[in-house]
């Protein structure tokens, strides 16, 4: 076995051992929501917020370190950062086209990077397992444990924040690309050329389709929020419950969740990709007409 594989294997072992210690502390169950851990000038701070800030800080520090001394011949962190940015840009360019990707890359890249690292950071030892026990009267006996950190995307507020931010930006980009008239025409106007009574009939059909489209558009952020939240929360639940499969043999509690850590690493990546892909495809669909013109102009 080479030294190259030693570190990842040790990390996986450490990851799998973390819930054992948590179990010893008497962690009751994973609530479906983030929990308030302190107040900052009257603003309630939850454990998922803290996690998001930590990950965001880490990403920003990494970005700073990678772009501190940019050189034409990339080395070290710059190399990795450039690889990530270039790959994402080319990938998104394939979906959105040259014009749209220039305008919106910052958003989709942030979405992907932030979701990915928030998902993966939720698998770190101590997340959801290190905290304190509440005591005193009025404490829910099923919810006594307060972890300091909780997976950022296992909080519907976070996934909804990203989804609704996208929804607002989606309207802004769609209207600025198509114009208000073009935007409404894109939703309600009949596709194709019809004459006479057929035109009137198709107008009615497409008006109805437009209404359905509006409902679908309004539900997109809800679906996006719940999809990401559901996947991540379910993953965390699986990891936690797998630990209890061994019953009294707590010394073996590290074993059952282990395969699921690999699964969750994959789920974390896939969910980041799915969120980014869906949001970019939603934008592409509404700006499709405009972009064809751009591509024609480009050619």
């Amino acid at each position: 076995m080479t030294r190259r594989y030693l570190l990842p294997i040790l990390s996986v072992w450490l990851l799998s051992l973390a819930p054992v210690f948590a179990g010893a502390e008497g962690h009751d169950h994973l609530p479906p929501h983030a929990e308030e851990i302190f107040n900052l000038f009257g603003l309630p701070i939850t454990n998922s917020m803290l996690m998001v800030w930590l990950v965001a800080g880490g990403i920003i520090l990494f970005a700073q370190a990678a772009t501190k001394k940019l050189s034409l011949i990339p080395v070290g962190l710059q190399n990795f950062a450039e690889w990530l940015v270039e790959s994402l840009y080319n990938f998104l360019e394939g979906i959105l086209g040259k014009h749209l990707v220039k305008r919106t890359f910052w958003f989709f890249a942030t979405i992907f990077v932030l979701i990915l690292f928030i998902n993966w950071s939720g698998l770190m030892p101590g997340v959801g397992t290190v905290g304190w026990e509440l005591s005193g009267p009025g404490v829910d006996p099923h919810d006594k444990f307060r972890p300091f950190f909780r997976g950022g995307n296992a909080d519907l507020n976070m996934t909804a924040a990203m989804a609704f931010t996208f929804a607002i930006l989606w309207f802004y980009w769609a209207i600025s690309e198509n114009g208000l008239k073009g935007f409404l025409a894109h939703i309600f106007a009949p596709k194709g050329k019809f004459k006479g009574i057929m035109a009137a009939f198709m107008l009615l059909v497409f008006l109805f389709v437009g209404v359905l489209e509006i409902v679908s558009i309004l539900f997109r952020p809800v679906a996006l929020s719940f999809r990401l939240y559901g996947n991540i929360f379910a993953g965390e639940n699986i990891l936690e419950n797998m630990m209890f499969v061994v019953g009294d043999k707590t010394w073996l509690a590290w074993l059952p969740p282990m395969p699921f850590y690999f699964l969750e690493l994959l789920v974390g990546l896939i969910q980041a990709l799915v969120f980014m892909l869906l949001t970019s495809v939603f934008l592409k669909l509404i700006c499709d007409h405009g972009d064809h013109h751009d591509e024609e102009h480009d050619h």
Binding site: D28, H29, L30, P31, P32, H33, A34, L43, P44, I45, T46, M49, V52, W53, A56, I59, I60, A63, Q64, A66, T67, L70, L72, P74, Q78, A81, E82, V85, E86, Y89, F105, W106, F107, A109, T110, V113, L114, H142, D155, L156, N157, M158, A160, A161, M162, F164, T165, Y229, N237, E240, N241, F244
Partner: protein
């Protein structure tokens, strides 16, 4: 599995305040302060990443792309220049070869012509020298003949005068000489 069952067991009925949406909000603790805080966090990260990560990196990638494009353009230009230069060199070499061949031919022709002229000149000079030598020889021979004639005449005249004992006139001398010469020449 107990925690999930506990969770489901503690889930209140949807008839609670706010209906299904209110229930969802309560179950997942969707509160405006949390939601706005997460929105602000997300936007802050997006703006910071745009300013400090994606912007500079994209700029660097663009710069590198332009450099590569410029390099490619230069390479193409250099290749074209090289091809042009090779063609020019080949043309120059061909022209030089052609000129050299022409010069050699001209030199050969010129040398042949010169050689011919010189030969002709030498021949004519030799002929002239020959003619001159012949003329000189003839003149000398004539002179010798004349001298011989004169001496022969004098001898004949002297002999005749001695034999005859008579002083010969110049007409006699001339006549005797002519006769003697005619006989010798015959």
């Amino acid at each position: 599995m107990t925690p999930i069952l506990d969770l489901l067991a503690t889930t209140p009925a949807p008839e609670a305040e706010g209906g299904v949406v209110g229930e969802i909000f309560r179950t997942f603790k969707i509160h405006w302060p949390y939601f706005i805080s997460q929105c602000v966090s997300f936007l802050l990260v997006a703006i910071l990443l745009k300013k400090f990560a994606f912007g500079p990196i994209q700029q660097m990638l663009e710069q590198r792309k332009n450099r590569i494009a410029e390099g490619e353009e230069k390479l193409k230009r250099i290749e074209k220049q090289l091809a042009d230069s090779e063609a020019t060199t080949a043309a120059a070499i061909a022209k030089a070869n052609e000129d050299a061949a022409r010069l050699i031919q001209e030199a050969r022709d010129s040398a042949a012509a010169l050689s011919e002229a010189k030969a002709q000149e030498a021949i004519s000079q030799a002929q002239a020298i020959l003619a001159k030598a012949e003329a000189a020889a003839k003149a000398e021979r004539d002179q010798i003949a004349a001298e011989l004639k004169k001496e022969f005449g004098r001898l004949v005249t002297a002999t005749t005068a001695q034999i005859t004992g008579k002083v010969l006139t110049s007409d006699d001398q001339k006549r005797i000489n002519d006769e003697a010469l005619a006989k010798v020449e015959a």
